[in-house]
C-alpha cells in the first residue's frame, strides 16, 4: 500500500551537499596542480597520486575496520586532504614519507576525532608538519623547477626564495642584494610558479584562479583569504617602511611561499575555521600575523602551516566568543 510520508518542515532541500562542496574544492585545485605538473614533472604527478590514493585507502581502512561505520571516501574530503598534503611537500620526497604523511593526516589529523567535520586541525597540515619535524632534510630539499621536470635521475636542488632570503639576511646581507642574487627568481617567475618550493604553492596565479572559482561557487567567502593576505601586507609593510634593507617588501611575502595556498585552501577549510564572519576575519588576521612573525623572527623560513595550525586551536574560543549578531539584539535592553 502506498503510505504517505510524515516529516517535519521544510519539505524541500537546496540540493547542496558535502560531495558538491568537496569536489568543488578539488576542481579549484586543478589549475595549481597542472602548473606543478608542468614545472616539477613526473615527481609532482607521482607524489600527488600517491598522497591521494593513500589518503583514500587509509580512510577506507579506518572507517571499515576500526570505526566500523559507513565508508564515506566518495565524499571527496580525503581526496582534498591528499592533494593538499602533496601540495605542501617537495616533489623529490621519497614515496614512503608521503604514505606516512597521509597516514598521519587521515589517521591522527582526522579520524581520531571522529572523521569528517569533527577534526579541530586541518588534516593535511597535521601530516605536513609531522613530516617536516620528522624528516627535516628531505622536507627542505627543493628540486628546481623545469630542470627537475626534465631530469628524472639526478634531482638538482636549490633553496626556496624565502630560505635564500632568510640565510642571506642572517649572514648580514641587505634585502636589495639578496633580491638580485643569482638564485633569486624575479616576481614574474614567482607569480607563474617558476620557483623552487613545495609542489602546489609555487604559482600564485594558478592558486588565485582556483580561489576565485571557490568564491564564485560560494564554497568559501572572502573573509578569511582577504583578512589573511591583508594582515600579511600590513605587517610586512610596516617593517619594510621602517627598514627596507632588513625587511622585504610585502609583495614578496604575499607571492612567495605558501601564503596563497594557505589563504585560499588551507585556512578556509570549513571544518577548522570559525563560524561567524567576524570570527573568520579575526582568524585570518591571526594566521597572517603568526605567519609573518615566524617568517621574520622564527627559526623556519616559512610559517604558514604552523600559523594555521595554531589558529585552528583557537577556533573553539573564537566561536564561543564571536557569535553572529542576533536579529533584534541591538534594541534589546
Amino acid at each position: 500500500m502506498n503510505l504517505l510520508t510524515v516529516s517535519g518542515s521544510p519539505h524541500i532541500h537546496s540540493g547542496n551537499s558535502v560531495k558538491k562542496i568537496m569536489w568543488g574544492v578539488v576542481i579549484a585545485l586543478i589549475p595549481a596542480m597542472l602548473v606543478s605538473f608542468y614545472f616539477f614533472g613526473l615527481g609532482a604527478i607521482n607524489i600527488t597520486l600517491i598522497a591521494v590514493v593513500s589518503c583514500l585507502l587509509f580512510e577506507f581502512l579506518i572507517q571499515r575496520f576500526i570505526m566500523k561505520t559507513a565508508v564515506t571516501i566518495t565524499d571527496g574530503s580525503a581526496v582534498i586532504t591528499g592533494i593538499l598534503l602533496a601540495f605542501t611537500v617537495p616533489s623529490s620526497l621519497p614515496f614512503y614519507m608521503v604514505i606516512i604523511g597521509s597516514l598521519i593526516a587521515i589517521g591522527v589529523g582526522k579520524m581520531t576525532f571522529g572523521g569528517l567535520g569533527k577534526n579541530p586541525f586541518n588534516p593535511a597540515l597535521v601530516g605536513r608538519v609531522f613530516l617536516l619535524i620528522s624528516f627535516p632534510v628531505d622536507m627542505t630539499t627543493w628540486p628546481k623547477p623545469l630542470e627537475s621536470a626534465q631530469q628524472l635521475s639526478d634531482v638538482i636542488s636549490g633553496p626556496t626564495p624565502l630560505g635564500l632570503m632568510k640565510e642571506g639576511l642572517k649572514s648580514g646581507e641587505t634585502v636589495s642584494t639578496m633580491l638580485h642574487d643569482a638564485n633569486m627568481p624575479d616576481y614574474i617567475d614567482q607569480l607563474v610558479g617558476n620557483v623552487t618550493g613545495s609542489i602546489g604553492e609555487v604559482s600564485a596565479i594558478a592558486i588565485v584562479v582556483g580561489g576565485i572559482y571557490l568564491l564564485i561557487r560560494k564554497i568559501i567567502t572572502w573573509h578569511i583569504p582577504v583578512s589573511f593576505l591583508l594582515s600579511v601586507v600590513v605587517f610586512a609593510g610596516i617593517f619594510w617602511l621602517i627598514d627596507d634593507s632588513k625587511y622585504v617588501d610585502p609583495l614578496f611575502h604575499v607571492i612567495t611561499g605558501g601564503i596563497m595556498l594557505g589563504a585560499f585552501f588551507m585556512a578556509t577549510d570549513m571544518v577548522t575555521s570559525p563560524m561567524s564572519k567576524m570570527g573568520q576575519i579575526l582568524f585570518g588576521i591571526g594566521c597572517g600575523l603568526l605567519t609573518m612573525i615566524i617568517r621574520m623572527f622564527g627559526a623556519y623560513p616559512e610559517g604558514v602551516s604552523f600559523a594555521i595550525l595554531i589558529m585552528n586551536a583557537f577556533v573553539p574560543l573564537i566561536n564561543s566568543g564571536m557569535k553572529p549578531k542576533r536579529f533584534g539584539e541591538k534594541v534589546q535592553s
Binding site: L3, L4, T5, V6, S7, G8
Partner: protein, 304 residues
C-alpha cells in the same frame, strides 16, 4: 659542577618544605568534617549513579540516608532489598522489606495490531516524533518505537523488538530506576510490582479515546468498556477516561479480568497457560495458533 647540584637540591628542597607547610595549614583550615558512615553507606551502594532513587548520585543518596536516619522514603531500586538490608545496620535501624519493582511497557500496539498508516521520516527520537504527529499507527498515545527509553536505560535492560516495534524490558536486568519512565514522551512505561515469580497483570494500553476511534487504530486498545472493572473481586481496577487501570497494590493476580477483555488489552505475563474452558473469550482475538497468544505472553517468548 658540584655547586650546581648542591644549590639545586637545596633550593628545590626549600620550596618543597615551604609548600608542605602551607598545604598543611590550608588543609587544617578547610577541613570538612564528614560523617564516617557516609563512606560506609556509599561503599554498599551499587555505584551506578543512575538517579533511580531520586538523587543525582549514589553519594547524594548516602548523604540523605545518613542525615535523615530514616529509610522509609529512601530506597535504592538498583540494589533492592539486599543492599538496603546492608545499609540499614550502618545507621543503626532495621531495614524494611520492599517489593521488587520493574518497568512495564503499557502498549501492545505492535506492527500487527496497530499497522502503520504513514511513514515517519526524521530524527530517530520519540520526543520529536511525538511532537510532530500521532505516530505511524495513528494512535496518539501509542508507542512510537524510536527507542528514547532504550537510550535512557543505563542497565541495558530495554531493547526494541524488531518484529513488533515495541520496547521489551528484561526481567533480569531491569532495576526499576525509572529513567525510561522519564524519557518516554507519552508516559507509556510504568514502574510496577515485579510480582511473585515475575507474574504480572496489567492493562497494556494508555489510550484515553473512546472505544471506536481507539479500536480503529489498534486492535488491542483498551476501549473502556468496564467489563474488567465489574468482574474484579477486589476492586483493583478503576476506569477513568475510557481507560482501565489495574492497581498493583490491590491486585492479587487472580486472572479473572484478562479473559473478560474484549480486545485483549489486559496482559498476563509469565503465567502458566490457561485451561481450555476458561478461554472462551480469548477466541475472539486468538484466531490462529501461529499468532502469539495475546493474553498470556511469556517473557521468554516476548524476547525472541
Amino acid at each position: 659542577m658540584n655547586e650546581v647540584v648542591v644549590y639545586s637540591v637545596i633550593s628545590l628542597g626549600a620550596i618543597g618544605a615551604i609548600a608542605a607547610i602551607v598545604l598543611f595549614f590550608v588543609a587544617q583550615k578547610f577541613k570538612v568534617i564528614e560523617d564516617p558512615r557516609l563512606d560506609l553507606v556509599e561503599a554498599e551502594l551499587p555505584g551506578a549513579n543512575c538517579g533511580g532513587c531520586g538523587f543525582p548520585s549514589c553519594r547524594n543518596f548516602a548523604d540523605a540516608v545518613v542525615k535523615t536516619q530514616d529509610l522509609r522514603n529512601l530506597d535504592c531500586p538498583v540494589g533492592g532489598n539486599a543492599v538496603m538490608a546492608k545499609v540499614a545496620p550502618i545507621i543503626g535501624i532495621e531495614a524494611s522489606e520492599k517489593d521488587p519493582l520493574i518497568a512495564v511497557v503499557r502498549c501492545n500496539g505492535s506492527k500487527t495490531y496497530a499497522p502503520a498508516k504513514v511513514v515517519f521520516d526524521g530524527p530517530k527520537t520519540c520526543t520529536f516524533a511525538h511532537l510532530l504527529h500521532a505516530g505511524e499507527s495513528g494512535c496518539p498515545s501509542g508507542c512510537v518505537g524510536l527507542g528514547d527509553c532504550v537510550s535512557a536505560c543505563k542497565f541495558d535492560a530495554i531493547c526494541i523488538d524488531e518484529a513488533s516495534g515495541l520496547p521489551v524490558v528484561s526481567n533480569e536486568k531491569c532495576v526499576a530506576c525509572g529513567a525510561c519512565v522519564k524519557a518516554c514522551p507519552r508516559s507509556i512505561i510504568e514502574i510496577r510490582k515485579k510480582g511473585k515469580k515475575d507474574r504480572r497483570i496489567f492493562v497494556s494500553c494508555i489510550n484515553t479515546e473512546k472505544g471506536a476511534p481507539a479500536k480503529k487504530n489498534c486492535a488491542v486498545a483498551c476501549i473502556g468498556c468496564g467489563k474488567c472493572v465489574k468482574i474484579c473481586p477486589h476492586d483493583a481496577i478503576v476506569l477513568e477516561k475510557n481507560l482501565a487501570y489495574i492497581d498493583f497494590d490491590k491486585c492479587i493476580l487472580c486472572r479473572k479480568c484478562a479473559p473478560e477483555c474484549p480486545t485483549g488489552s489486559i496482559l498476563e505475563l509469565n503465567f502458566p497457560l490457561r485451561k481450555e474452558k476458561t478461554s472462551v473469550n480469548d477466541e475472539k482475538v486468538h484466531t490462529s495458533a501461529s499468532e502469539k497468544p495475546l493474553n498470556s505472553i511469556n517473557e521468554s517468548n516476548q524476547q525472541e
